[in-house]
Symmetry: C2
């Protein structure tokens, strides 16, 4: 039930994006460290995603709407919305996904509720 | 789709707990500023809750399990789990709830997806 981000393994998801991942029963949280200049290719997924920017500035395009989000800001990416982005500076961002990102189950994570994975 | 926490109204939920609230379609995020010594009475709700501690130390009891969570730690509170707590220091915590906390709809929030409220 308790989780330390410092102790969580780091997973390189795509170039310039290093992730720590926590799955709960209904949500997945990803804390990203992102290098300045790293690009998030255009993609979509059925999960709702809410990105909370802790540090830095990240240029984000959601369904054609472009905006720079900075520290203290959040962006809501609806289910199936096409989105892409680029880190304008080094960034720290925490994404919350709903439902759980089952496609992230195979990577090293801080999965504190493993029973949820096996019972689904 | 974009939300600034600095611009969000502050809602005093219970004594010593000041909240800023963001509802998305499937989740509710609450950023708390909590005074040292403030107490969270024992309660439960059907929502899953994940508490991310940004600053301070908070003593949390979940279904009888007691632990102090600090900066860089998170706690997963399962649906319907009985929980209570106490701020040992001034704290900054972000809770993520799933599904949306409809009981928080009536208070001033940063509700970026108002259509979700009226369509449910």
């Amino acid at each position: 039930m308790f989780f330390s981000w410092a102790d969580a393994p780091v997973t390189p998801i795509i170039e310039g994006f290093r992730a720590k991942i926590l799955h709960s029963e209904r949500m997945t949280f990803v804390r990203w460290e992102i290098d300045a200049g790293a690009a998030l290719p255009e993609h979509s997924h059925p999960h709702e995603q809410v990105a909370h920017v802790f540090r830095g500035r990240f240029e984000l395009t959601i369904d054609g709407e472009n905006r720079v989000v900075g520290a203290g800001e959040s962006a809501v990416i609806p289910p199936n919305a096409v989105h892409s982005g680029r880190a304008l500076t080094d960034c720290e961002i925490m994404d919350a996904f709903c439902p759980v990102r089952e496609d992230y189950r195979g990577v090293p994570t801080g999965d504190v509720l493993r029973s949820a994975a096996t019972s689904s």
